[in-house]
């Protein structure tokens, strides 16, 4: 049974989404229960797989249909994918639990179909994180993309046009990826990642123009999907106009999994030697990443809408991860991978906190933060932790990833990236200080309290505490705790998971 765990990770949400469309008459409660059950079982399978990977110290290969690769398709779960799988599982489960009230608010009808799509998106993401075959990756990429188009378009109104733009850009990205796979396939004849890595390391293919074009197309396609700086225009509108439950699932996961695919393609299919010595783009990419970080933060600063501000912060975070991956040293790589895990959690907690505030106040602008510490203390506390993590304040995990990234940038002598990291940290501090100031000292205009009460519970009873419902509060609190916990156990995560996946040649 234990050696079948990799397939349970993917098959359980898949079955759940198929069943969810059939159990419409049973009502929303059954659908919600089925979704949560499936997501928790899948998370359990991910955890079991991760434990096995850590214990044995080597990657698990699962042969689909008992066909040996390269002829069949295999799932490969190594240390990197195990970590990403668990991150996806945790984020999906938390946002699934969180979605009970908000999904009902956004979907007056067909809630079970909404949940089916939700589960399908998680299936696609989990499948991408465990794929060992480049074409299989494309199919799963399209599944998660299609599901996300549907979920984002559910926002209604202006969301349709934003989703249409996302659809066009997403299709261009996926098709570039497919064409790149075609170029690689025509020169090697294989689709399996391990087999490809073996063939591509041959001397005769190192200089090949076609392989270079294939690599360029694949990387361009993935950059379009993950919204790296010049290709990011679709992201903010698409994410900020979605419903709350949708945004909480998609914003933390889609881009992060794309970063994972980039790492997989760069270091598993191609090699560090090929990328950094044969194709010498890394300085250009570092410039792009630095521009993404700085411009993302500056644009975020200019936003009044809270969700839009967070989406621009995502653009900046993508810059961190891309820069770290292209620094070509161990510290940079560690920072990039650790930031995938950390950023998933911090984006999740910020989006959930903002979603809870919007749920109670109905206001998406920064004004909604007024006096939040007194009205919704737990939500505000999680928001504070998330903000501290984005800024990079020590006990949270955001500090450690930035520390590794800075260390890597200094080692690589990429001073522009160092400067960008420092400026971005400062900008993030300003952005969140502005919001938190309003949250602490803001005037509660409806209750007319005096300005200056900093302690949340010192109210004389006039302050009406109105926290979000429990199904929203529990995942919020767990996400906040996970941010701190990941920060405290940084050393373990790096030693047991990330160190093992550092590619050869660094």
């Amino acid at each position: 049974m234990m050696d079948q765990t990799p397939v349970f990770i993917i098959a359980i949400p898949l079955f759940a989404s198929l069943l969810l469309t059939l159990i419409g008459p049973l009502g929303p409660r059954v659908a919600y229960g089925l979704l949560i059950g499936a997501l928790s079982l899948s998370l359990g399978a991910s955890l079991a797989t991760m434990v096995r990977v850590v214990q044995t110290g080597q990657a698990i290969h699962y042969y689909m249909g008992d066909w040996l690769p390269p002829m069949g398709i295999e799932l490969v779960i190594d240390h990197l994918s195990a970590a990403v799988l668990v991150m996806i599982g945790v984020c999906a489960l938390l946002s699934g639990i969180y979605s009970m009230h908000t999904a009902g608010q956004d979907n007056h009808d067909r809630l079970n179909n909404y949940y089916a799509l939700f589960s399908l998106l998680v299936t696609g993401l989990l499948g991408m994180a465990s794929a060992g075959d480049v074409f299989n990756l494309y199919v799963l990429l399209e599944i998660s993309a299609l599901a996300s188009y549907g979920l984002l378009a559910r926002g209604g109104g202006k969301a349709y046009f934003a989703t249409f733009k996302y659809l066009v850009m997403g299709t261009i990205g996926a098709c570039f990826y497919l064409l790149g796979v075609g170029y690689i396939y025509i020169m090697t004849g294989s689709l399996n990642m391990a087999d490809l890595a073996d063939i591509l390391s041959r001397e005769s293919l190192q200089e090949s123009v076609s392989i270079r074009i294939g690599f360029t197309l694949i990387i361009l396609g993935i950059w379009t999907k993950m919204a790296l700086f010049p290709l990011h225009a679709w992201l903010p509108n698409a994410y900020s106009r979605a419903g709350t439950a949708t945004a909480c699932l998609i914003a933390p996961l889609m881009t992060k999994v794309s970063v994972y695919i980039m790492l997989r393609m760069m270091f598993t299919v191609f090699s560090a030697d090929y990328i950094f010595n044969q194709i010498a783009w890394s300085s250009l990419v570092i410039y792009m990443a630095s521009a993404a970080v700085v411009l993302g933060m500056i644009t975020a600063f200019a936003q009044r809408d809270m969700r839009k501000m967070l989406t621009y912060i995502i653009v900046a975070e993508i810059g961190y991860m891309t820069g770290g991956a292209w620094l070509a040293n161990t510290a940079g790589y560690t920072g990039a991978v650790y930031h995938i895990l950390a950023d998933g959690l911090m984006t999740l907690s910020l989006f959930m906190a903002v979603g809870a505030i919007i749920y109670r106040t109905g206001d998406t602008s920064a004004n909604a933060m007024q006096g939040i510490f007194r009205r919704m203390p737990i939500t505000a506390a999680v928001f504070l932790i998330g903000a501290a993590s984005i800024v990079g304040i020590p006990p949270t995990c955001g500090f450690f990833s930035k520390w590794y990234l800075l260390q890597g940038a200094v080692q690589a002598g990429a001073w522009i990236f160092v400067a960008a990291l420092l400026i971005a940290g400062l900008m993030a501090a300003i952005i969140f200080f502005r919001l938190l100031e309003a949250a602490f000292f803001g005037n509660l205009d409806d209750e007319g309290l005096s300005v200056g009460h900093s302690a949340p519970h010192s109210g004389t009873g006039a302050v009406q505490m109105r926290e979000a419902p429990l199904t929203m509060l529990v995942p919020l609190a767990v996400a906040g705790a996970a941010l701190l916990g990941l920060g405290i156990y940084t050393n373990e995560v790096v030693t047991y998971l990330i160190r093992w996946s550092v590619p050869a040649g660094f």
Binding site: G65, I73, T123, I186, V209
Partner: protein
């Protein structure tokens, strides 16, 4: 933006066209793509799956995991289109800018449809179940079967087609086809083989491993066919009526 896009695209096109010099010659039997994996599929495929159509064998057995997700992709498409477009309220009338002539649905058209549709459906089933020996399989059969309902709707009316293939039924078929596919994978898992290892069906069916694979291919093709058929009909219902299921093309 536009002149910029044009220049960039033109430069990329020139670059990629000149780079084709590096690609292997077209239709060269000695190219890497034709010598690495494909001989294995052709030479062993028949012995391992008893399916002369190599494309079917590779599609539904060697790469069945891809095909599972392929049927899930179309399932996802029907869900998305329904979630995005379907409205229960019929009050909001929509302007039809381009209205095909309703009077065109005359007796000849209906008579032709009456005689073609049964043949189409039988042909679709033939394509589906003869996929082992001739071109075709689940997708093609499913699309043709779905097209027969689209033809019915075009020649009669949307309501007429929906009386025969109800919307609820369509959605159930969408999910059931993919569920059949994944369910076969799960049965193989329960029999102690890996997911989608059809050889696990051998014990249940009382045949050899090779024949079990052949039957497994047939069963999953049927699943794909059901899903694709239902999805094509569902896409047409939703898109042609604009989501209110009142009036089709």
């Amino acid at each position: 933006m536009k002149p910029f896009a044009r220049i960039i695209l033109f430069l990329c096109a020139v670059m990629m066209l000149t780079a084709t010099v590096d690609l292997p010659d077209w239709a060269d039997p000695g190219s890497p793509a034709s010598t690495h994996l494909s001989p294995g599929f052709i030479e062993q495929g028949y012995h391992e799956t008893a399916t002369p159509n190599v494309v079917t064998a590779v599609l539904a057995d060697y790469r069945s995991y891809d095909t599972l997700f392929e049927s899930v992709v179309v399932f996802a498409a029907s869900l998305v289109v329904m979630l995005v477009l379907r409205r229960t309220s019929t009050g909001t009338s929509r302007i039809k800018h381009f209205r095909p002539k309703r009077e065109g649905r005359d007796t000849i058209l209906r008579g032709a449809a009456q005689s073609i549709i049964p043949v189409m459906q039988i042909f679709a089933l033939y394509v589906l179940f003869h996929g082992h020996y001739s071109p075709g399989g689940g997708f093609q059969g499913g699309v043709i079967f779905g097209a027969s309902f689209i033809l019915l709707s075009l020649c009669y009316s949307l309501k007429f087609a929906m009386q025969r293939f109800k919307e609820k039924m369509v959605l159930i078929c969408c999910a059931c086809g993919a569920l059949l596919y994944a369910g076969i994978g799960a049965v193989c898992l329960a029999m102690g083989w890996n997911f989608l290892g059809y050889a696990g069906l051998a014990g249940l069916l009382g045949v050899t491993d090779v024949m079990a694979r052949s039957h497994g291919i047939l069963a999953v093709e049927a699943g794909v066919g059901i899903t694709v058929m239902a999805v094509m009909v569902s896409l047409y219902y939703d898109l042609a009526s604009g989501g209110d299921m009142e009036e089709g093309l």
